[in-house]
């Protein structure tokens, strides 16, 4: 039930914010002219959630949310700029942006500053940093109160899941493996956003190696996780092809799940949906 409520609430929030931030609520004159380029899907999602969709003039090829973004691209109101790493600077400057949000440190930041264009690198790696980046974007775009509300709502929703999860004794928590690639076994390890979400949803990440290591198949059999999460659709292949994995608890119980990677590895507003999905997988029927 809770799971279905959240998108609705978010949508209502977005609608309210759209009215508040985009179409000239407080101090409108300046904001209507604001032109923003976002070079990271998570930042694009934050901008739209803050009601700044109309101010966005450029996004990456990988920005695929929210749905109205696609329409704006088709109508030519928003330009696709390539991926986050290889940005066409000519195109960027020709869009005459006031604000450019980079996803990775780039030496273009200084060059743009020389042209009088404000550029910031925003790449949160945790829930806390995500809230902070929402507030920062709000500050940069002049809609602090909307940003404060969005961040606070996220904090509250995350806290609610964490509270439920914290009530579960450690011994009863599922041991979880988060798989990013099946052929070379890249997994989410300690210190990653995925790791934080698993813990927040009441799971225990079996991988203790830092970052996104390539893990030995022997080790995976030895971890014997209760649940395997796949951020790309590997479920069918795991159940059908992996002879050596047949003894793993998650495979025996068919507790192998394809999850939407965009909801768990994009440090934006939809992390809350990702978190609630994980909780629903870990504790079905609760």
């Amino acid at each position: 039930m809770k799971k279905h409520m959240l998108p609705v609430i978010l949508l209502i929030v977005v609608v309210i914010l759209l009215a508040g931030c985009g179409d000239g609520g407080s101090g409108a004159g300046e904001k209507e002219e604001l032109r923003i380029v976002s070079l990271m899907p998570s930042n694009t999602e934050i901008l739209f959630a803050l009601g700044l969709g109309d101010a966005v003039v450029g996004v990456t090829d990988y920005c695929n949310y929210p749905p109205e973004l696609e329409k704006a691209v088709e109508e030519g109101r928003i330009q696709r700029m390539g991926d986050s790493y290889n940005v066409n600077e000519e195109l960027l400057v020709s869009l005459e942006p006031d604000l450019v949000l980079f996803g990775f440190a780039s030496d273009a930041v200084e060059r743009l500053a020389g042209l009088g264009i404000r550029a910031e690198v925003i790449y949160p790696k945790s829930l806390e940093e995500t809230y902070a980046s929402i507030r920062l974007i709000g500050e940069l775009a002049g809609c602090q109160s909307e940003a404060e509300k969005l961040a606070a709502d996220m904090e509250a929703a995350v806290a609610a899941v964490k509270e439920k999860a914290a009530a579960v004794p450690d011994a009863e928590k599922p041991r979880v493996l988060m798989l990013l690639d099946l052929d070379y076994l890249y997994v989410a390890g300690a210190g990653t956003l995925e790791n934080e979400l698993i813990a927040a949803a009441g799971g225990i990440n079996v991988v203790e190696v830092q970052d996104y290591p390539q893990i030995n198949e022997e080790a995976i059999i030895n971890y014997n996780p209760d649940i395997i999460l796949c951020s790309f659709p590997f479920r069918d292949r795991i159940l059908a092809e992996k002879e050596a994995w047949k003894g793993i608890a998650a495979v025996q119980n068919e507790a192998v799940y394809d999850v939407d990677g965009d909801l768990i590895n994009r440090p934006g507003p939809r992390l809350v949906q990702g978190l609630e999905q994980l909780y629903a997988i870990f504790y079905p029927g609760q």
Binding site: D181, I215, N216, A219, I221, E241, A244, G247
Partner: protein, 339 residues
């Protein structure tokens, strides 16, 4: 001389057995040697438990096939490298020079790009193999001049086809987007997660190719002394070269389709063996087979244990261990080196 070479081959055989036994004993998960021996003994007697313990699965389904695959891939690359270096009379030739590997890579890339749903552990090697054969056919046609197969044109055709295919792969990756990750990983190569079926997939090509190469090894020796001389001694030079090209390419195609491109083995091991055992291909091929197998199994054991449970891509290890070892060999035996 013959006695020494024979002794060296036996020594390599013993080392190969020792390295593989040691490799079965060590891994990311510690399993006591006594238990390892018990598991293998039970499996050999054919008594496999219906619900195997994790240790059994790890040894029989993960470690053992990976080690054997490593041996055959290493042996394949090394034998193919030896053949190409001899055939093309070029010390910088390796199994990848002739473009067969780029063909395999393009086949795999195309499969992942156009049929992502059907792409699996088994269909990708098949697509790669088809690509390799297509590349071989192209190089063969481009390289033939009036029914002959001159070394220079084959080499150039190989390099050109290889560059063209690499560009096609880069373009494919650019267009692939969602699949780019898969293609990138495939190209990087590796021995993990292949299991028994893929091991059985490459053995026929390896065995058939090796048989042809061994059969023609004496003729290749004569050709290397000079094509004119070989002709006058009754060697069918063009026929021999053709068969060597096809056999070595088939071996490469089998290996690359399964493991992706693992560098350094096919270039360095043949040279190392040439230093150790001399330029006679009748001995060089078996030495390259054993040397390549030993080298890749050792490198892969390193790759899967040094930072366990995480892994290092084996290509990094082959270059990292191989280069210093080769420099050592070259410095010690410089005067003995003959091509």
């Amino acid at each position: 001389m013959r006695g020494r070479r024979f002794f060296l081959l036996v020594l390599l055989l013993v080392i190969a057995a020792a390295v593989m036994l040691a490799a079965v004993g060590i891994g990311a998960v510690m399993i006591p040697l006594r238990e390892v021996a018990g598991i293998i003994w039970n499996a050999l007697r054919g008594s496999i438990s219906p619900s195997p313990l994790p240790a059994e699965t790890i040894i029989l389904q993960v470690r053992l096939p990976r080690i054997l695959l490593g041996f055959f891939i290493g042996a394949s690359l090394s034998v193919a490298g030896t053949a190409f270096q001899g055939l093309l009379q070029n010390p910088l030739a390796d199994p990848y020079t002739i473009g067969v590997s780029s063909g395999a890579a393009l086949g795999a890339t195309a499969a992942m790009l156009f049929f992502p749903k059907a792409a699996s552990t088994f269909t990708i090697p098949l697509a790669a193999f088809a690509g390799a054969l297509l590349a071989l056919f192209t190089v063969y046609r481009l390289g033939s001049v009036g029914g002959r197969l001159p070394v220079v044109t084959v080499l150039l055709a190989g390099v050109v086809v290889s560059s063209f295919l690499s560009a096609a792969i880069s373009l494919g990756m650019l267009l692939a987007r969602e699949q780019m990750r898969n293609i990138f990983f495939w190209l990087a190569g590796g021995l993990g997660q292949k299991g028994w079926p893929l091991l059985l997939f490459i053995i026929p090509y390896f065995a058939a190719g090796l048989a042809v190469l061994l059969y023609l090894s004496r003729d290749l020796n004569l050709i290397l002394l000079g094509e004119e001389d070989a002709l006058s001694l009754g060697v069918e030079v063009e026929q021999t070269k053709r068969w060597i090209l096809v056999a070595a390419s088939l071996i490469t195609a089998g290996a690359v389709s399964v493991s992706g491109m693992i560098g350094f083995v096919g270039l360095i091991v043949p040279h190392a063996m040439r230093i150790l055992i001399g330029p006679d291909h009748r001995y060089l091929y078996p030495a390259a087979l054993l040397g390549g197998g030993i080298f890749l199994v050792a490198a892969d054991t390193f790759a899967r244990t040094v930072i366990a449970p995480a892994e290092i891509p084996v290509g990094i290890i082959t270059a990292f261990l191989g280069a210093p070892f080769f420099i050592y060999l070259l410095r010690r035996h410089r005067e003995k080196y003959r091509f």
